[in-house]
Every structure is written in structure tokens, then in C-alpha cells.
Symmetry: C2
């Protein structure tokens, strides 16, 4: 059993991870400033699922499991002294760092959103590292990164787990070197994660911090065994244009009878992981900390890859929804291969939840069950007001009105 | 003639660069929040040279040259709206970005100094980039970076100008790729500069920003032709443990009759550039902006390399001062080679000021001239109060009291 501090423990990944770690017998405390809920307010959107206030959630968990999770409302990256005091009093063995703004489209909305994402994410990571150093304690830092740091389009190369061996030739001399995989971020959000990697490299080298950086794929799924125990524990489901991922967009479109909108040929391959596996991977990472003096451990946290078009087809087959092909607003190759190495987690015993297994319950128990809570303005109605699918057939698909969820996330 | 906005134009590099650009007929406006002067207050130190308040400096420049330089007291990285308004009203062709905390030892003093350096430097660079994008103007950004991003100890390799061609082998396939030179920063300050490189990479790729990143060596020298025109224009000279470079430390030690303290064998090689050449390089960079659509232009801004021990000997020969060898507090190889490519600036016509030429005036016109202003508490007196050199001969040199200037800065 470990003492674990979860930064950002009220969010989409943080909440189920906190419950899972608690269920496994760890002593868990959550730090969160509720920024994700406040961004919902800013955007005028809401989780499709009726998530409860933090205190209600935590009381329900206590009631259901008998376990207590502490909660601290503070801003990582600003309230440094309180964070340091918490580390000194709670004495965690591990800190799981989810406390970053995590939507690529949100990070690109305006200069102010770029500025918020940069300041929030970079100051948060630096504060955590500096506080661990100042505390003098031997704490393992587990950070949620993204596979997006690699950029898309790696010309058929296998994406290794963080490091790349290269050969350098100069003046007739040849040398080999293992370097951090060169970063190629596609948004301000992704860029902050590539800058996080440099924080980790530095604090590991200079202060011998033990750090695991998890390069996560697109997370799908809503519920875990723990969040499903009680309605009040339900996890969030985002389908808006900023925080909704491509899969959630498809799920909502099918639930409200709108064609599944695929951009370009849908030939872009993406990496996926179920939220249950996120929780398991984090615990596996905690249990398998790098040794003292070891470099930053980087693992690809994903379990399968799919072309966007294949995803759409999968949902279309299950629900009978049509697919509409739209121009791709992203500046990216129309088709790409994606070969990701995830040997580390498989070796540690991860037994993945596959899309093909979990998709049906996602449709029936989330998207369709809560469809009445759907804000249809986020899935813009077709101008004429005619039934969408009917109109679709007579239109050039490129004239389909743009959904809010165009850019997708992560 | 260009319109040039100089961010950090009151600092050690920014001030003489602003005057030089003004003297060359450019229209110059300075942005500065006087943070460098406030840090002097925090540290209880002062420039050896009697620098004047900004308004006095600018009035003197107007009197001497007939040219007006505008001044705007705002914090780049915080006062975003004012920065954007200034860009929109002044309509600069180029922005020179010196507005970062630039001392490695200062950045490492405490958690609060780490936090200040990270937040100040990263938010500043992001704000400048975001403001240029939001302004919609075609502005060339020239950033002062550091050769320190490469780390020391490059195993005899020539340091290229920013990019490195590597060969990647995987599954029997071989591919060549040109990547950003892998970063290996040695301090929080240097780390922020490696993170700056990722800002530039992203904004160049995503928004087509034209950017030149100057990887500068250790700047030496105090005066330029412009700052020497009038006493009120004098540039700053730092010799404290945070902001004083190794060369300034030697100069002050010789001026106040203290042995030149060399750490380890003094076999570490460093790259240098005279402040006059900094000014010239910045103008050359402005005049030779990357074309639209071109990647970030990275140039090594240095003119010669010296071993620390050779520097000490050079000053010892000129002044008759002794050299004392102390244990090296830095975690670095005792000896290193440093081969730096600076073909770009030489090709652009830079005619460097060499150390061997400029050192005598630095000794007589700065260090000795202002020695009475020296705060001896920054050059700690030996406990017994005996004359330093006399005591030194009878002591094991490793027992020499540590000077404040141990870590040096670049």
C-alpha cells in the first residue's frame, strides 16, 4: 500500500484513477482547483453524464467503499507553499500529475487560451518538481503525457517508448547516441507536453528525481468498476468541440441521429486506451518505479490503434448510423500508419479492454441513456430544419455544416 | 531602416544593442520592466559601473545622438494586452527578445527562483509569439538564446548551428532526419532556453512565424562605441556570484588584489563574444531574416573559445595577479573540448573583437577605474584579515574561502 497524491484528481482521468487506487488499498489524497468544471462554465457546456460535486462524490465513495479520500482545493503552479506543506504533511510515496489543461482545440482558441495553457501546464509541472526537491523526500512522480508529442506522421516508423537511438556522422567520425524522441507537437497543448519532457529530463539529471512519463493515447470509455458502483460516482463524458474526442463525437452523433462526420478520408490512425486501462497503467507505473539514479522512464500508454474511418464504421455497424465525409480542417497527411511500441505495459501484465468489447456498453449505457441531456446546439442543427439524414442524401457531403467537434482532442 | 522593438532593452545586452541599432538609423523602442535592476536590489548588489536610471540614459542618448528611443515599462509575459497594443501601434519590422532572466546561478538559488525563472521566461516567449500571431503582422522575431542549451561535454563533436543530421535504423530500415540538436541543459535557466526552442519550432510550423534564435556564448566587455560616448550611457558590469561571468570575476579579483580563483584544472572550454559583437550580430540577424516559410534560423553567436585556465593566465600575465586552484563545484568533466560552428555570422561579414585586443581596456577602463565602487563583501575577505596573497602562499589552495562568483554565469 502506498500513499498517493493525485493532482487533478477531479478530472476525467484523475477521478476514476483516484477511486481505483483507493479501491486497491492505497491511501489517496486529491488536489484539484476544479478548473475543468470552470472551463465547462466558460464554454457553456456540461458533461453528458450528470457528474456530482466533489464533496458529494467523495461522500458517496466513503459510503460505498468505506474508504476516505482527502481533498485539497489548490492550484498547482500557483499555490506553491500549500503544495509543499501538503507534501510535507501527507508524505506521499508517489505523486500522480494530471493537473494540466488537456484539450488541444481549447489551447488553440485564442491568444488568451494559449497563454492559459502554457502558464498553467508549465508552472504546474515545474512547481511539482521543485516542491519534491525542496521537500527532500524520495517521491516517485508519475506524469500523464500524450502520444501527441511525437506528432502524427512518422513515416512508417515504430514509435519507441521515449528514446531513440541515432547515429551521428561528422568529419568522418561516427558516433551513436540515445536521445529523447524528437518532438513535433501539433498544438499549444501538445507543445507544453514536449516542454514537460525537458523539465523531467532536467530534474532527473540534476536532482535525481524518479519520474515516469506516460505517453497516453486517446482515452475512451466513461465508467470503471468503481465509478459504476453508484450513480453519484459517475465519470464525466465530454462531447463538445474542445474536450470531446473523436470517439465521443461519433457516439453522440449516433445517439442523436446525426451522421458520423469523418474528416478527409478518415485514414488517419490514432492510438486508443480505455479509461479502465488508464487507471491500471497508473498503478502499474507506481508499482514499477524507476530505480534511484535511473533516467526518466517513458512508456506508451495505449492498447490499440484504429483508423478514424474504421472507428466510424464500427459504430455505424452497431447503430445503423450513416457516415458523412467532410474536408479535413487539420493540416496533416490524409493517411498515416501508426506503429506504437507498448511492450513495457504488456510486460508488466496489462490485459487491455478492447474497443470491440466495450463499445456497446458505451453506446447503450452512456450515449443513449443520457441522450436527453445532450445540448443539441453543440451538434448544430441543419439550417433547413429538415431531418438530418434525409437532407444528407441529397447534399454534397462537403456542404455538411461543421460540427463543433471538428478538431477532436488529444 | 527598420522599426525595431527591443524587449529587455534596459539590460546588459539590451541597452547597448538598443543604442547600436538606433545609431545605425533604425527606429527603436524599448520595453522593459526593470526586473534586472530590481534583482540587484533583492541581492543587495549593484553594477560596478554607475549605470543611470532609464530616463536619464534615454535623455543622454537624445542629447548625444539627436535620436529618440521610446520606452515602455511593462512586463512581457504578464501585460499581454499592452504588448499587443504596442505592436499594433508601433508596427515593428522586428522584435528583439532579451526579456528573460539570464543567470544560471540565480535560477538555481531556491524553489522560488526556479519558479520565477520558469514563469518569467516561458510566459514571456509565449506572449511575444502569441501577440505577433494575433497582430496579424509580418514581424521577424530575433531571440537571444544561449550556447548552454547544448550542455557542456559534447565528446569532441563540432556544435552545429541548431540542427543535427542523424541516421535512424529500425527493423532493418535506415532513414536520415534533420532534428533540433538534442538539448542537455545544466540549470533551470538553460532549461527554459531549451523550452523556448520548442515554442519557436511550434509557432514557426503552425503560424509561419519568421524566427531567428541566437545561441550566444559568454558575453564579455562592458562598453560599446555608443555607451562610451557619455558617462550617463555606461553599460552595467556585474561581478556578483549570480550575474558575474567568469571573466568579470577574474577582472575584479585582479583589481582588488585577490588571487584569480580557477575551479578544478580550469580545463573547461567556454565560448565568448564581445558585447560590441552581440550588437552587430543582432543587426546582422535582423537584416538577414529567414524567408517566409523557412524553418527557424539558428546561429551560434560567439567568436572564440578559451579554456578557463588560459583566461586566468591571460589576466595574470597582464596584471601580475596570482592564480589559485579550487575544487570544482560544478558537476562536469574536468577538461572538455569545444568546437563551435559560427560560419553563418562570419559569412554575413562579422569581424570579431578578440579577447587579446579588448582585455586591457576592460582592466584599466572598467575594473580598475571603478574598483573603489566594488563591494568587497562580494569578494569575501579571508577570515584572519591578513593580506590575501600573503596568506595564500602558506595555505592549501583548496582551503581558499569560496568567492561569491563560484558558479559563473553564461
Amino acid at each position: 500500500m502506498s500513499k498517493i497524491l493525485v493532482l487533478g484528481g477531479d478530472g476525467f482521468c484523475g477521478w476514476p484513477t483516484s477511486l481505483y487506487l483507493s479501491s486497491q488499498g492505497h491511501q489517496v489524497e486529491i488536489v484539484d482547483n476544479l478548473s475543468r468544471r470552470k472551463i465547462d462554465v466558460e464554454l457553456g457546456v456540461d458533461s453528458l453524464t450528470p457528474i456530482q460535486a466533489v464533496d458529494k462524490r467523495l461522500a458517496a465513495w466513503k459510503e460505498v467503499s468505506g474508504k476516505t479520500i482527502g481533498f485539497h482545493n489548490l492550484t498547482v503552479g500557483e499555490d506553491y507553499d500549500r503544495l509543499l506543506q501538503l507534501i510535507q504533511s501527507f508524505e506521499p510515496d508517489a505523486i500522480v500529475h494530471f493537473a494540466e489543461q488537456r484539450a488541444a482545440p481549447y489551447s488553440m482558441k485564442s491568444a488568451q487560451h494559449k497563454r492559459y495553457t502554457v502558464s498553467n501546464n508549465l508552472n504546474a509541472t515545474n512547481d511539482v518538481c521543485a516542491a519534491i526537491v525542496e521537500s527532500g523526500r524520495d517521491i516517485h512522480l508519475v506524469h500523464l503525457g500524450t502520444m501527441g508529442v511525437y506528432g502524427y506522421g512518422t513515416s512508417g516508423m515504430k514509435i519507441p517508448e521515449g528514446y531513440l537511438e541515432v547515429t551521428i556522422e561528422q568529419d568522418g567520425k561516427t558516433s551513436k547516441s540515445e536521445i529523447l524522441y524528437p518532438a513535433n507537437p501539433g498544438s499549444i497543448y501538445h507543445m507544453t507536453k514536449t516542454q514537460d519532457a525537458l523539465f523531467f529530463h532536467f530534474y532527473n539529471k540534476n536532482d535525481k528525481l524518479r519520474i515516469t512519463d506516460l505517453h497516453q493515447g486517446i482515452v475512451w470509455g466513461t465508467q470503471t468498476d468503481e465509478t459504476a458502483l453508484d450513480d453519484r460516482l459517475i465519470n464525466r463524458f465530454d462531447y463538445d468541440g474542445d474536450y470531446g474526442t473523436v470517439l465521443n463525437r461519433f457516439l453522440m452523433q449516433s445517439a442523436v441521429n446525426y451522421p458520423l462526420t469523418v474528416h478527409g478520408t478518415g485514414g488517419q490512425t490514432r492510438a486508443f486506451i480505455h479509461i479502465k486501462d488508464t487507471c491500471r497503467c497508473v498503478e502499474l507505473a507506481i508499482k514499477n518505479a524507476p530505480a534511484h539514479g535511473e533516467r526518466v522512464m517513458i512508456m506508451n500508454q495505449m492498447t490499440e490503434t484504429h483508423r478514424v474511418n474504421d472507428l466510424a464504421k464500427m459504430i455505424a455497424d452497431l447503430t445503423g448510423t450513416e457516415i458523412a465525409y467532410l474536408p479535413n480542417p487539420r493540416n496533416e497527411a490524409a493517411e498515416n500508419e501508426l506503429h506504437v511500441m507498448n511492450d513495457n505495459f504488456l510486460a508488466l501484465g496489462l490485459n487491455p479492454t478492447r474497443l470491440a468489447e466495450g463499445l456497446v456498453s458505451e453506446i447503450t449505457e452512456i450515449a443513449e441513456k443520457y441522450a436527453t441531456r445532450c445540448d443539441m446546439s453543440r451538434i448544430r442543427s441543419y439550417p433547413t430544419g429538415q431531418p438530418l439524414r434525409k437532407r444528407m442524401r441529397s447534399q454534397n457531403s462537403s456542404e455538411l455544416p461543421e460540427l463543433a467537434g471538428v478538431a477532436g482532442c488529444c
